[in-house]
Amino acid sequence: MLTFEYFLQQLVTGLANGMLITLVAIGYTLVYGIVEIINFAHGDVFMLGAFSSVTTLQALGAQAVKRVANKDQSPIPETYLWLLIALVTSMVFCATLNVLIERLAYRRLRRGSRMAPLISAIGVSFILQNVGIYWKGVSPVNFPRYIPQIDLVKAMGIDSFVRVTTKDVFVLIVTVPLVIALTLFIQRTKLGKAMRATAQDRDAAQLMGIDTNRTIALTFLLGGALAGAAGLVSGLYNNTAGFQMGFSYGLNSFTAAVLGGIGNLNGAMLGGVFIGILAAMSDGYLDARWTPVVIFGTLNLVLIIRPSGILGQDLAERA
């Protein structure tokens, strides 16, 4: 029974991490879908989102931090408001940043060689990492402990080895509605359809009167906003943020997007949750040091069998 409970425990951790990976993976996949650029700077946008959240939260509520740290678990109503402010701030900050990156580093290179925007993306990634170092230093910063870690399973009076904490629930409460809202926007609204039309055939989209520069900017805006949300949530979940987190999270998220089928929104969700759970299982049953091997080994295997990813369209289908 204990082994099954252990499995469930890893599943919970994997799911929460998987949803964070999904939020970042969506940014990769949306951008690739519309301009066929791997935005290598995306992970670093996420990192700066976490940094901006630290700054906002520290500025807003040093008091709340103290009370949680003092094991005073009584609910502090203002905390929710501050979290909401930090969430919105981080989303707006990262959305703006991502739109600026597109405008300055990619737009002019769009018609040129395919390598040019790729190199430019790597350059932007380095720039953002250095901005991160300049902002918060090289060593990881502690994230304010806003979310108390209460085991909800125990709180419900069930005696179990499995812990589902308020933190796990917090991750899902923020990420799931965002993913649903994004999906509805892209599937149902006129602008969402215009984004899909632009991704499928840019010239034809222009002939419909769609300003494709604007739909592309909108895509970067949405991807950036989700990365900003992920920055805050991951910081609160892991209690830490560092300038290199963009690289590690970015790599996992990019892998998730490719695994699911890059350019495909459902693929990013599937890939994100899958990678999250896979990593948690590898951490739990093998060793955390084996986890990258497991992740990339799986990626290789999937790509050998299905080169366009699990839900990716075949080239013939896309043409």
Partner: protein, 249 residues
């Protein structure tokens, strides 16, 4: 919108004027001084072999390509510096060569994209009904992904989608390409009907016979230049046209 019920067509004043246009693809001088004028409610056809510059001419009019020299004017207003997505709002809609429907959007969503520039939901619904009356086949396929349609159905969708933009000038690039004679007839009947409803049509065609059968006037292009222009009736009788494009010895 029925052809039989509409009054005799009255050709109006010049609506589209292309003057001495030079367009390049990189270093390739694709259009070398093309001049075309189209009058209201006319059907004008551009004929010529592959690579003559017919499609390039249409793309230059719709703004996908920019002329390096010369002007494109719609009702006297220069379009040279108007971006493609704004030219649609001025009333020029195009059904591109190779159809270019959005393959992973449904037929209905494709039509909705055709009406992207319009926000008056009621009129858009009326336009949609008109297009579906014009091409009843599309009505049966509304929820289907456009990429799964047959070539003929995709052509209907491409023209229907362009009609959703409420064009004053409709540009059609190779509407018969790859279609059976039967489907080609359906498409060309629809083009006539669209024209009878008051829309000016510029049609590029490989099938010169067919194009001249519905057109008022035609231009013959060779290597980026207009080499001949006349009424459709005279072009059908023209020696050079007969030899080069109507397959007669």
């Amino acid at each position: 919108m029925s052809a039989s019920a509409s009054p005799a067509r009255v050709i109006g004043s010049v609506v589209l004027e292309v003057t001495d246009v030079h367009t390049y693809y990189g270093n390739i001088h694709a259009l070398q001084g093309v001049s075309i004028s189209v009058r209201e409610r006319e059907i004008v056809t551009l004929l010529g072999s592959n690579g003559a510059g017919k499609s390039t001419t249409l793309k230059t009019i719709s703004g996908l390509l920019r002329p390096r020299q010369g002007t494109v004017k719609l009702r006297g207003e220069t379009l040279n510096n108007v971006p493609a997505h704004q030219i649609v709002r001025r009333g020029i809609c195009q059904s591109p060569e190779g159809r270019h429907v959005f393959p992973r959007l449904s037929v209905d969503e494709n039509l909705a994209m055709g009406a992207f520039i319009h926000n008056d939901t009621k009129q858009v619904a009326i336009d949609r009904e008109r297009v579906l009356d014009l091409f009843p086949r599309l009505r049966e396929r509304l929820r289907q992904k456009a990429g799964t349609l047959s070539g003929g159905e995709q052509q209907m969708l491409a023209i229907g989608r362009a009609m959703m933009g409420r064009p004053t000038v409709l540009l059609l690039d190779e509407p018969s390409m790859g279609l059976s004679p039967l489907l080609t007839d359906v498409i060309f009947d629809a083009i006539k009907e669209i024209n009878h409803s008051g829309v000016t049509v510029v049609v590029v065609e490989q099938n010169a016979q067919l194009a001249l059968s519905i057109a008022d006037r035609g231009y013959v292009m060779q290597t980026g230049r207009i080499v001949l222009t006349d009424t459709a009736d005279s072009l059908v009788k023209n020696e050079m046209v007969r030899k080069a494009y109507l397959g007669e010895e």
